[in-house]
Each structure stands twice: as C-alpha cells, then as structure tokens.
C-alpha cells in the first residue's frame, strides 16, 4: 500500500471516533466549539517567551481525551504529521534572536530558543484541541455549531463540501498515483516531469466532478440556499462545562500557576 493511502485511511479514523457516545460526545457542539476557540485564544495570547504559563493548559486536552474515551496514541500520531510544519514556523527564531534570557550553568539560552519552544508547545496544544474537537463532535455538528455562532453560511457550506469531497479527491489521487507507480520502474516517487500532467488531470477531473455535483444539486431544486437541519438542545450540563473551562482559562491566563506553586513550595516571595 502507498504511504499516502495508509495515512488516508488513518484520517478517516477521526470520523469513527466521533460516533462514540460519551459525556464529551453528548455535549452541545456549540459549547465544545466555543470552549475550544477560547482555549486557542488563551493559549495564543501569551507573550512569545512564555513557557511555564502554558503548562496548566495541558489539562484541557488531557481531560477531553480521557472523558471522551479517545485513544492517546493515534491522536499523538496525527500531531506528528503536522510536526514538520511546526518546526519550520519556529526554526529561524534561534538564528535571529540571540538575546540571552536564561543561564543554566555555563550554557546561555537565547530568547530565540525560548520562543521556539513556546511556539512548539502552543502549536501542540492548539492542534490537539482542534483534533479533539473533530473526534468528539463530527464535522457536520461542527458545521451547524459554526452557523449558530454566526459564521457566514457560505463559509460553513464550503467547509462541509470540502470535507465531503476531500475523501473522493484523495481516492482519485491515490488511484492516479498507483497507476503511475505500476508503470514506472525508475524508482520511488513521481518524477518531477510527470507532476504537471498528473495534477492537471486531477484538476480537470475535479472541475468536471464539480459540474456534475452542481447539476445534481440543480435537479433537486437548489436555489443558492443550502438548508441545514439543526437539532441540538442546550442543557445546564453544557453551560456548566463551558463556564468551568472559561473560568479555568481566565485563571491560568492571568496568573502563572506553576510559578506561584513554585514560590509557595520554596517559600520565596
């Protein structure tokens, strides 16, 4: 099997996870979306040299992972897939920022390294939170939650369609690459020269498909408006869940809890 195909089957796994029935899965999608968004906002609002203040935020993904009955290993594996991007975003910080910030023995740690670690931690936190949101809510519920919090319909519809046809497109791509590799004996991967026509073919086929989908929408009376059904009720549990997390985020954002704990333990003011 091609590597991309294996990864692909892996991606669908998130959908399977979202069909579970746990406390977290039963929560109102809006509440989960808002909690995740405020989590991301809180995590990204720290100054660029912050590391210790971020630690308490690990509680959020940890609690959701365990209460939502999500397997840790596959979620971490997905985090590894985006690891290269994380690395590239922060990799130049140590090169450009030589401000000495910390001295450990004889080793001076520059501000660049600190901010690099800070970025890495933040990306891990936010991406895990997003993955958990999809794995506990499912994309269609997220779509209706986005609508409810006021995201324009056209964007939500785009998102849903993209998610729906990502699978079809990926399967088409996999078939094309398989057909290519079956007739190429030169070695690994697709040759540079072939990429153009390969991607061009894919684009043309996607446009054709988009046309057919549009036709089938027209046949069923599409008039520019996609009507989604929304059935979710807001219970006191939902509000409690959201309120607890909002208070927690606010607290750990305003007070550096690890630092306070450390001071408390060593008794220094």
């Amino acid at each position: 099997m091609l590597k991309i195909e294996a990864n692909w089957i892996d991606l669908r796994y998130l959908d399977a996870l979202s069909n579970q029935n746990t406390f977290i899965h039963r929560l109102n999608p809006c509440v989960k979306l808002l909690a995740t968004l405020s989590f991301i906002l809180a995590v990204t609002s720290f100054s660029k040299y912050e590391i210790t203040g971020l630690f308490p935020f690990f509680l959020f993904p940890f609690v959701l992972l365990s209460l939502g009955n999500l397997p840790t290993a596959p979620m971490l594996k997905r985090l590894l897939i985006v690891a290269p991007f994380v690395l590239f975003i922060g990799i130049f910080n140590p090169l450009f920022d030589h401000t000495p910030v910390l001295k450990l023995g004889s080793v001076v740690i520059s501000g660049g390294w600190i901010s690099f670690f800070s970025i890495t931690i933040r990306l891990c936190l936010t991406i895990t939170a997003a993955l958990i949101l999809v794995a506990t809510t499912g994309i269609d519920a997220i779509g209706s939650a986005l609508l409810r919090i006021g995201v324009p319909k056209i964007i939500v519809i785009q998102l849903l369609f993209m998610y729906r046809y990502l699978h079809v497109l990926a399967e088409e791509f996999i078939r094309t690459v398989t057909a290519y590799s079956l007739r190429s004996f030169a070695g690994e991967g697709v040759q540079f020269r072939a990429w153009g026509s390969l991607l061009g073919q894919l684009l043309i086929r996607s446009i054709d498909r988009a046309n057919r989908i549009y036709q089938s929408m027209l046949c069923r009376g599409f008039d520019g408006e996609v009507r989604l059904r929304r059935t979710s009720t807001l219970t006191s549990t939902d509000i409690g869940f959201l309120a607890c997390w909002l208070v927690f985020f606010l607290l750990v954002r305003c007070f550096n809890v690890p630092e306070l704990l450390g001071k408390l333990l060593v008794g220094v003011n």
Partner: protein, 251 residues
Amino acid sequence: MSHHIVELKDITYTYPDQTEALRGLSVRITHGESVAIVGANGSGKTTLLSHLIGVLFPNSGSINIGGYPVTKKTLPHVRRAVGMVFQNSDDQLFMPTVYDDVAFGPLNLGLPPEEVDARVTAALTTVGALHLKDRTPYRLSGGQKRSVAIAAVLAMDPCILVMDEPTAGLDPLSRRQLINLLKTFEHTKIIATHDLDLVVDLCARTVVLSQGTIIADGPTLDIFSNEELLAKAHLEKPFRMQGCPICHPQR
C-alpha cells in the same frame, strides 16, 4: 394522467467542441411507461438524459415534459417532475449525512419540517436504507450509495424517474435488489444502460441509439431478437436470451 408525457421533437445538439451528439432525435414516452435507452458508448445516451433535466438545451427541436416546454423559465416545474439518478452516486450525495442529503430536495421545495421528515423517512424506508440515516455518505458501500441516491430522488416525489446506468458498479446481489426495487415503482421510468438483462426485467419498450439518432424503437423482446440491429448498435443479445454455453457448447 396523460399530462406526464415526455416528448422530444427533432432534437439536435452539438457540443461546444463540435461533437455532434444528437441529430434529429424524436421520441414520445407516455405516462407510466418504462423505457430503456440503449446504444454504444458515445451514442448520445447521457446527452439525451441531460436534455430531460434541462442541464443541456437543444440547438434545434423542442422538448415537452408534463405539458411544459423545457426552457429556462419552466425549469423548476421540469425538475420537480423529473427525478434524475446519476451514474456516479458520489456526485449526488454531497451533504454531510444521509438524512441531510435526502432532505435536501424537499427542503428546497419549501416544505414544512414535519413534511420533510415524513418524506425522508418514507423514501429511505422504500429503498430499505432507513438504518443508514445518520451515516456519512462516503462511508457507504456502492449498493447503499445507490439506494440512498434513489431515496434522495424519491423524496422529491417526481412523476418521471430518469436513471443513468443504475446498475453500474454494483455487485450481483445489490443489482438484483435494485431491479426488484425498481419493479415496484409506478413512475414513468427512463433508463439508460448497457445492462440488457436489466432491460428485459424492467422495460417493456426499448429505444436503440446510434450516433445520435434512434435506429430502433419498439417492444424490448422484438429488438433483442434482431441480431443485425444489435450488431449495428454495438450490442449483444442479453445473456438470458443466448443459449446456455454449458448445455449447448457449440455456439
């Protein structure tokens, strides 16, 4: 109910790349008829179906469906009367869940929520797919996708069912179930297919297309007995009408 007549008069259609797809095609299909459109690849079957749902408009000639001439103005009426099941179910199932997909048409008709729910449930029950209603379409098998695509069309309550290769890509059991399901429908059925055994089962009348024109139109069994005609249209007798190769190996 004579008002659900489908009438095409002297249709010609040429694609923008100058491919002549239909040349002077005329056919009249009355209410409740079950008609097969057969012919070689590229004989114009899909182009013909596209005209029935107002996706393509003829260069010359006229189309009349259920008393309405097919024009841009009458499209809402035409598309309400004609339900089209596409060849590739993935093109037809675009909503996040099966329920949403089947509800898409009725919601667009502006029906009240209870009526929509009743129609979706009824349509899914008819095709035996009610248990799939909360699933995502891309995780269904080929047969299930086809059933849901048909339910999505049935929920619109059309008078005329148009199908493009309904049995393509189905396993034999799913194919048989689909045929049995279609047998129970009393709609006018227009089916473009290469599956001639399906035609024997479902359609009393067959229209043979070749290079954009009708070369034969008549009772299915008569047409399939005419070997000369079949050869001309790149067809072969349905397997059921051929001798058994094991009992009579001299064929």
